[in-house]
Symmetry: C2
Subunit: 137 residues, 2 copies
């Protein structure tokens, strides 16, 4: 699970973003995160939050997924990201177990949820981008 990259070289605000994500311990939109942070840092701009989140993503410290509404939800990479999501109402219920292919069928019954499809995606940096990243550190 090594997430080395460069945990160092974090901006003051980037640290705070990370800390807040840790404190809230649930996926949150950039806008909501901004609102939270602003309670403590009234002058914090929304753009800074977006910029910070982007950098934290590239560093491998933060992940994001898209809500059914289209907006992005952010959380620490340590946080589990297995959900049962309703395409209609958008409700996401977390899953406790780490799933596999055929698990979909089981879910269909046990959870009284009609499973249409699931997605699995690995995120990170391809080697060209990674090297480019290393160079910058």
């Amino acid at each position: 699970m090594s997430q080395s990259s460069s945990t160092d070289r974090l901006t003051h605000y980037q640290e705070q973003i990370l800390a807040t994500l840790k404190r809230l311990d649930a996926p949150i939109s950039a806008q909501d995160l901004h609102a939270h942070l602003r309670q403590v840092q009234p002058r914090l701009g929304l753009a800074t939050v977006y910029r910070g989140l982007e950098i934290l993503k590239i560093k491998g410290l933060v992940q994001s997924r898209a809500a059914v509404t289209g907006e992005a939800l952010y959380s620490r990479v340590e946080q589990d990201q297995h959900y049962l999501t309703c395409l209609q109402c958008g409700t996401s219920t977390p899953l406790t177990l780490c799933p596999v292919q055929e698990m979909a069928n089981q879910l269909q019954q046990s959870k009284s949820f009609k499973v249409y499809y699931h997605t699995l995606e690995f995120f990170g940096l391809c080697s060209p981008c990674w090297e480019q990243q290393e160079a910058k550190s």
Copy 2:
């Protein structure tokens, strides 16, 4: 893998959207899809494409995932959706095998790709929404 729901009751354009997705056989944005369809149906509006895709999703015929850029990419549910995605350049390379937890580690070496995290998500309808959907058919 039953996707019954209501394969029937598809609009002319919805059929065409589905047909085009099948023909292209690769995830595509709504805007690009609109451009493609317009070559044949010059009067087709962008909104119709979005509305059609939404309905096809609720029916379980189409799936979508978010590109790193934030825009939504659509494809048929039959299409595999396992990718290796670079957070920086946005490149998505399809995976042939259906993955599991620890696979991430293997990927890290074999693909010369630095895996930060992965996401797995099941999509469908929760029972309230499903019943509501059934009623409409």
